[in-house]
């Protein structure tokens, strides 16, 4: 890849957190995602967009190896995190997942108190500092503190959907990760809650690298710095395989994309 000069999939002049090299993803013998090449810059928001089944969530879950939980799944290719091969034997997925947090599509707080939700990750990872302080700091960073400071003992499930999702973000940042993966974090939320999460993301990128999968193109264009557009094409065996069509500055993807597919998709002509 180094030989290709000024490849749009590379991030010139920025700290490179992830580098995905010619990576394909398989369920059993079925290829689900084909030959992805891209680099994720640090302290930026990178959006993955594309139609359903294009493999954007699959690629996202490679970064914290959550795909390992699917028995038949495996990857071919190379994904590095600060130059370390994520799938090498030396990497312990449990350690990796502390450094790379994740927020899911449907808010999924634990059915425990708000405090315990935030403290859980820190506790199991042997946090040595003051727990109360950490909980407050995390809830402040996720813009939830003022709404919950008087009811930390109440169940996380008593909060509204948007608050639950911010609780999940607080829970993720409490273990001090470097990266936060977000898998359609706003798809179950109303527009007001969505806006709050988007504002929050802008604050969080000061300290974290964020990768967000979204079906909402306005959201991608509003919040992200770079955008990767994935598409799916039918295979000979009747299935579908996803691939990366184009990856560039968000502004370029939405105003002046190189590929016709991208132009059609972002202008709402298909998908």
């Amino acid at each position: 890849m180094q030989s290709e000069q000024a490849s749009p999939t590379a991030v010139a002049g920025l700290e490179r957190v992830f580098k995905v090299e010619n990576t394909s993803y398989y369920y059993g013998s079925n290829m689900a995602v084909r030959g992805v090449n891209l680099e994720i810059p640090g302290n930026k928001i990178t959006a993955f967009i594309g139609p359903s089944g294009c493999g954007k969530s699959t690629v996202l879950r490679c970064f914290n190896r959550l795909n390992d939980l699917i028995p038949s799944a495996h990857i071919k290719g190379r994904i590095t995190y600060h130059g370390v091969d994520l799938y090498s034997k030396a990497v312990d997925p449990t350690e990796l997942r502390r450094r790379i947090g994740m927020v899911f599509q449907k808010p999924n707080p634990f059915p425990k108190s708000i405090y315990d939700n935030v403290a859980f990750g820190a506790r199991i990872n042997g946090y040595q500092g003051d727990m109360d302080e950490l909980v407050e700091k995390s809830l402040r960073s996720s813009a939830l503190w003022d709404e919950v400071k008087d009811k930390l003992k109440e169940s996380g499930l008593s909060l509204s959907g948007g608050q639950q999702q911010r609780l999940c973000i607080a829970r993720a940042i409490a273990v001090e990760p470097e990266v936060i993966l977000m898998d359609e974090p706003c798809s179950a939320l109303d527009p007001i809650s969505t806006l709050k999460i988007e504002d929050l993301m802008q604050q969080l990128k000061e300290n974290y690298t964020i990768i967000i999968v979204t079906h909402n193109m306005q959201q991608a264009s509003r919040v992200s710095d770079r955008t990767a557009f994935y598409n799916a094409e039918p295979t000979e065996s009747g299935g579908k395989v996803g691939y990366l069509v184009e990856y560039d500055e968000t502004q370029v993807i939405f105003s002046n994309p190189k590929e016709t597919y991208t132009r059609d998709y972002v202008s709402g002509r298909f998908g």
């Binding site: 959550l66 999924n108 059915p111 425990k112 990750g121 199991i124 499930l157 993720a172």
Partner: protein
């Protein structure tokens, strides 16, 4: 449902296209099905009520503290249920202490750790088959393995052997109910735990298991209730019909090769020709029912307590 006046014109709109709603006919089927399902419910409850009334009317007059605390006797008016009652409680203890850890542990392993592996599938099929094996077969197995092979440990045809046999009998039920309860916990909880850097066991222990415990408890206690009503397997293992002394609640007492339990005592009394023994059999059935009732109530109370703690 609001009663519909047959004279009314409904919306008074003409029917459009190819529809023939036949509302009256459809409502009639509604009614018929309602009556059938009601009749099914009623006949089940009626049979149960007749049984209960029969047992209660025959058994209550003989029920007394003496009956509870006396040993069996050749004379019906002196006979009591004490050794059989304590025998059942002792069996319950042995069965619960061996079946719960084994069954819940196996359920957790199969559901949370061995998903989709070949080994898990083989074990799963075997467990479903075990659940369908007649209880008398478990009795033979218990007699051979626990009473003969392991005699030095169990003391032969003892409460230990019988309790372990009953544990085998209900193990499949506990495993299946554990698995079902774990299956009902949404995967998003596991994902959330793992994504924070928790190991699988940490995720299961701290988040998944507490959510599954109400279901596991219910299934386990119902299985135990079934175990204490079983007669065939413990007869095969060696429960005796006439044991005039109560078991001592100690390792030695449980290894004593002479014991009895309530279902055995009931069966013994019912099969005698004298009417008086039939009456005290009814009283013994009431005592057994009370024990079952207490256990089921415990299941419900525990389940509600765990659920409200969320």
């Amino acid at each position: 449902m609001n009663p519909i006046d047959p004279q009314a014109q409904g919306l008074g709109l003409p029917e459009t296209g190819n529809f023939k709603p036949q509302l009256e006919r459809r409502y009639k089927f509604d009614q018929i099905f309602k009556i059938i399902s009601w009749a099914a419910t009623f006949s089940a409850i009626a049979v149960l009520a007749i049984l209960l009334i029969g047992v209660l009317s025959e058994g209550i007059p003989k029920l007394s503290l003496e009956f509870l605390t006396a040993p069996p006797s050749r004379k019906a008016e002196q006979a009591g249920i004490w050794p059989a009652f304590l025998g059942t409680i002792a069996l319950l203890l042995i069965t619960a202490a061996s079946a719960i850890p084994l069954g819940v542990g196996t359920g957790i392993f199969l559901q949370e750790f061995a998903q989709d592996s070949k080994l898990a599938k083989v074990i799963e099929i075997n467990i479903s088959n075990l659940a369908a094996v007649p209880s008398i077969i478990y009795g033979m197995l218990g007699l051979f393995v626990f009473a003969r092979l392991l005699e030095p440990m169990t003391g032969g045809r003892s409460i230990f052997s019988a309790g372990l046999t009953l544990a085998l009998l209900i193990l499949p039920v506990i495993i299946v109910s554990t698995r079902e309860s774990l299956k009902a916990v949404p995967d998003s909880i596991r994902m959330a735990g793992m994504a924070l850097g928790a190991t699988r066991w940490q995720t299961v222990r701290i988040h998944v298991l507490p959510l599954a415990i109400p279901g596991i408890l219910t299934g386990t206690i119902l299985a135990l209730s079934r175990a204490i009503g079983e007669t065939a397997p413990i007869i095969v293992v060696g429960a005796a019909a006439f044991v005039p002394f109560a078991p001592e609640f100690s390792v030695e007492g449980f290894r004593e090769p002479a014991f009895t339990a309530m279902p055995i005592q009931i069966f013994n009394w019912i099969s005698r020709p004298q009417e008086e023994f039939h009456a005290i059999a009814a009283s013994a059935i009431i005592v057994l029912l009370m024990v079952l009732l207490v256990m089921n109530t415990t299941a419900i109370v525990l389940r509600n307590r765990f659920q409200s703690n969320r």
